[in-house]
């Protein structure tokens, strides 16, 4: 099964579970969780079922396309369902069978792995899911988002589609995965991957990034003062990405690191509080 078919099959499966299929968010994010559809979707008590692909950027994980398992930009297939149905684990397992993996002939394990995002003020309880020893999914019950203790619990399922494709196609490297119609993942991504690694690790201008962080942060708080949630949240995401690049550049001491994380969380928490207040009014 090629990569594009895999994504399409996942869409098909989750459409049948009543999910809306959304599109990737257009600001750099470190994970599918940061898409507003998850961050805001997990807040409040209204039912919410969505699925989407989210390209995710982790500058630290870049290896100049030399490592078969690590990229600084890759994809997540994200499902968020609120409230979490009692049979959500079972539904997830059926999605694997739907991809053509007969589970009776394989081993699926749920290995304790609680999730926490200090920049989003978010945390959850869950597992990483292993298929015959290979980690293919993160499965989380959100407990907190934007510093707010959640009253209605969402289930978040984050597939690693590259891992699944490597497994299904029996490939040893992400770059060798067939994307579709004979074109490989590597052909589509390798030059971009290498250049971004050079930027992230070698060339990113530290002082201009630090000043961008400060401007974005300031603007975010000004917008929040005027009651704008979503543009402020975008700025929080931009700050978060700048933080990740600075971190990859090795430009941050332990203390500075903790300080910047706190500042991003400060914006995210305000966004979440305002969102909850406005939802209450509606």
């Amino acid at each position: 099964m090629d990569f594009q078919t895999l994504l399409r099959k996942l869409d098909e499966f989750w459409i049948n579970q009543g999910c809306l299929i959304l599109q990737p968010y257009d600001v750099e994010v470190g994970a599918g969780t940061m898409h507003p559809a998850t961050f805001f979707g997990a807040l409040g008590d209204n039912p919410w079922r969505v699925a989407y692909v989210q390209p995710s950027r982790r500058p630290q994980d870049g290896r100049y396309a030399q490592n078969p398992n690590r990229l600084q930009r890759y994809y997540q297939y994200q499902v968020i369902i609120k409230p979490a149905p009692h049979n959500i684990q079972n539904i997830y397992l059926r999605s694997l069978e739907f991809l053509g993996i007969p589970l009776k002939e394989h081993e699926v394990r749920f290995i304790e792995d609680d999730w926490e995002s200090p920049t989003l003020g978010a945390s959850g309880v869950g597992w990483e899911v292993w298929l015959d020893g290979l980690e293919i999914t993160q499965f989380t019950y959100f407990q907190q988002m934007g510093g707010i203790e959640l009253s209605t619990i969402s289930a978040e399922i984050t597939y690693g589609p590259e891992r699944l494709a490597m497994y299904l196609q029996k490939r040893d490297s992400i770059l060798d995965i067939e994307w579709g119609n004979g074109t490989s993942y590597g052909e589509l991504h390798k030059p971009m991957e290498i250049e971004h690694c050079r930027y992230n690790f070698e060339l990113a201008n530290i002082s201009s990034l630090v000043s961008l962080f400060t401007s974005f942060e300031k603007e975010a708080h000004l917008l929040l003062d005027k009651g704008l949630i979503f543009p402020s949240y975008d700025l929080a995401l931009k700050c978060s990405h700048i933080f990740n690049i600075l971190d990859a550049r090795g430009a941050l001491s332990v203390v500075e690191r903790a300080g910047l994380i706190d500042r991003v969380r400060g914006i995210a928490n305000r966004c979440a509080q305002l969102y909850i207040q406005q939802e209450a009014k509606v």
Partner: protein, 695 residues
């Protein structure tokens, strides 16, 4: 009758289960005992998907018992002539007994009327129904979660409850989940069955290959793993914690042998073992000489169906991990550790205190100041190399391997074994066979940790409440443990050496040293208390000198053991007389004179006697101190107690004559200083003989 409770859950964390099992067992036993419900055996089992409580021969109801119910005060229940009032009538009626069955008892609050009743036991079922939800609630959860609209919390979602008394369903509800005659042989909703009775459940579970009893699973896993290892002429070494994790990760353990690509055997064994054990839950296999073999034992939770897929999957994942490690290994060895010092200047230490390269320079400076001639050269070499592995690919990819990588690379680059081992130990926190054990390792570890502590306190990064991001408490404890074993390092000297290093290497005048000493004092207090030393003895010892930690522990242990000695209280009491008079004088602005005792001013027999004996004891103490025989020291001090008491009975210390007064104070101070070897004994709480005044 047999009782069964099965709590079906989504995958429970393996480190939670042992304590949950123990707590459930203890609490259930306590409950049955308190409620007077008899039983023969009580078992609690745990698997990744269920907690099971099984009670054999449980009585259908509580034993019959006599209860006394307190009623109104006697004065209200009976009038002056002793006739029952309406209050007495009302109480008797409410309790369903006649008036002449009331009795009168007196307690602290006065005389009261009681109803004495025989209560036939309530049905066990009823009691269990009421108490099980709170029993489950009382299990300590290291981390808890919510998963549905109810407010129930547990460590992972609860999905089903099966509760049977023989063949009868017991109706229970926990949050939104009600008990039902339904269980599952796999995950929730898979392999559903409806047990007719407790025995039917046990039978069905057994047929499905689920092994509820963790002890049984442990044995199966152990035996089968050994057997598989032997099939390739190998052995496995069991680490208890790892084995326990495997036991609680599987309810139907099915073991298999997997192969590892032989070309990875060039990697240090710890790197391979870490990839297998902590990353993939696999058992490494080694030969009789301890060298790894290209195999592993894995455990699948399930049956043998499609086992080849599982084996192949684990082999592939392991291969990918080891291929990464192998690539890093080859890259890393291109640059020797000793040439990595410059790269260390790219890694920031704490922030505001330079880089790891600066830290290494400070460590070498500290080593140069300490009285350690015979290992100084090797210590300087170790300090130069000990953080170099932080710049390797291997440690960046596998942070858990810091130290292990340094040790192995050092050996491959021809460093001597002692230095290689000390590199590993410099990262460790516990003193043990697997942790810090060599003299060189203790020295390096001590220097590293005290440098970090001093830096952190200077930057006001000291731990607060539950927040200790730099693991300073652990570092403090390690410092104390090392100082306890290595008497030649004196705490004050070390702190001075650290201050000097920061000044010379960084131009930083360290602040926060008072706080650091206070922090170490608290760590010491904790360590002593954990050894079971009584709080007042801990206080007494800590008020004494804190320089030689080893001596401090010896003093505390000796005092604690002497507590029961009949000489203890009289000796302590005598010594307290000394310090009381000194403190009294000090409050009047008079300190014992520094020039010491003038013998010609000792006029009375009792003064002379105490002084002469004090001098003798002082000499003996010097010898005993070298032998570290603190019990003998105490006995020597004890021999002074009668002289002290006689001295105070006959000699007026605070006499009007100034010169005499000063000389007597000097004598008292001299004797007190002998006792002060143990610390401030006036901190010791002497309990007075208790008179039972309540009767």
């Amino acid at each position: 009758m047999k009782f069964l409770l099965e709590i079906g859950c989504e995958e429970l964390p393996p480190n939670f289960l042992p304590s949950a099992i123990q707590q459930l067992k203890e609490r259930m036993e306590k409950l049955l005992y308190e409620k007077d419900i008899s039983f023969s055996n009580l078992f609690v089992y745990g698997t990744p998907r269920r907690l099971v409580l099984l009670i054999d021969d449980i009585a259908p109801q509580q034993k019959e018992r006599i209860v006394e119910i307190k009623g109104p005060p006697y004065q209200k229940a009976f009038d002056e002539e002793g006739n029952p009032t309406s209050a007495a009538h009302g109480f008797a009626k409410a309790q369903g007994i006649s008036l002449d069955e009331l009795i009168i008892k007196e307690d602290k609050q006065g005389k009261y009327v009681y109803a004495v009743k025989k209560e036939s036991g309530r049905p066990t079922e009823e009691i269990l129904k009421e108490t099980i939800p709170s029993l489950l609630n009382s299990v300590y959860l290291p981390k808890s979660m919510r998963w549905d609209a109810s407010s129930s919390r547990f460590i992972r979602p609860i999905r089903w409850i099966l509760s049977l008394m023989d063949d009868k369903l017991l109706e229970l509800k926990i949050g939104e989940i009600a008990s039902n005659r339904i269980s599952y042989t796999e995950r929730y909703l898979e392999g559903v069955f409806s047990p007719e009775s407790v025995d039917d459940y046990l039978q069905r579970v057994k047929v499905e290959g689920i092994i509820l009893d963790q002890e049984e699973r442990r044995k199966i896993i152990l035996d089968k793993a050994k057997e598989l290892a032997e099939s390739v002429e190998g052995e496995i070494t069991i680490h208890e914690r790892f084995l326990e994790k495997i036991v609680f990760l599987n309810e139907k353990p099915h073991l298999f042998l997997g192969k590892m690509d032989e070309r990875f055997l060039v990697l240090p064994r710890e790197i391979i073992a870490t990839s297998m054990e902590s990353q993939l839950n696999l058992f490494p296999i080694h030969n009789k000489r301890g060298e790894l073999l290209p195999y592993f034992v894995g455990v699948r939770d399930g049956d043998g169906k499609g086992l080849e897929n599982v084996v192949e999957g684990y082999e592939q994942v392991l291969k990918a991990r080891l291929a990464d490690a192998h690539f890093f290994f080859e890259e890393d060895l291109k640059i020797p550790l000793k040439e990595r010092a410059t790269a260390l200047s790219g890694i920031i230490f704490l922030g505001g205190l330079g880089t790891i390269a600066d830290k290494v320079r400070r460590m070498r400076n500290i080593i140069s100041s300490l009285p350690i001639e015979e290992i100084r050269e090797r210590a300087l070499r170790t300090a130069l190399l000990c953080r170099a592995d932080l710049t390797t690919h291997m440690v960046r990819e596998f942070p858990d391997l810091e130290g292990i990588v340094g040790m192995n690379y050092a050996l491959l680059q021809g460093e001597d074994e002692e230095i290689a081992r000390a590199i590993y130990e410099s990262y460790q926190y516990t003193l043990s066979e697997e942790g810090i054990k060599t003299p060189l390792g203790k020295l390096i570890s001590l220097v590293d940790k005290i440098d970090t502590l001093a830096g952190a306190f200077h930057l006001h990064l000291q731990p607060t409440g539950s927040s200790d991001p730099f693991a300073l408490r652990r570092a403090g404890q390690t410092v104390i443990e090392i100082l306890r074993e290595e008497e030649r390092f004196n705490l004050r000297e070390i702190i001075q050496a650290v201050g000097k290093a920061y000044k010379e290497e960084m131009g930083v005048e360290l602040g926060g040293m008072e706080k650091l000493l206070e922090f170490l004092r608290n760590r010491l207090e904790l360590a002593l208390r954990e050894m079971g030393i009584r709080y007042d003895i801990v206080n007494a010892v800590l008020e004494g000198k804190m320089e030689n930690i080893r001596e401090l522990f010896a003093r505390a242990i000796a005092l604690n053991e002497l507590r029961e000695d009949e000489e203890f209280i009289p000796t302590v009491t005598a010594s307290v007389r000394l310090i009381n008079i000194i403190r009294f004088a000090q409050r009047r602005g008079e300190n014992p004179p520094e020039e010491g005792i003038k013998e010609d001013l000792l006029l009375l027999e009792e003064e002379k006697g105490l002084y002469e004996e004090g001098k003798r004891v002082a000499r003996t103490l010097e010898i005993l101190r070298r032998k570290e025989d603190y019990k003998a020291i105490f006995r020597e001090l004890s021999s002074l107690k009668d002289l002290i008491n006689r001295f105070f009975d006959k000699v007026l210390v605070m006499t009007e004559e100034k010169e005499l007064r000063a000389n007597r104070l000097a004598l008292v101070n001299f004797i007190w200083n002998l006792f002060f070897l143990f610390g401030d004994l006036s901190q010791i709480v002497i309990e007075r003989q208790r008179n039972d005044a309540s009767s």
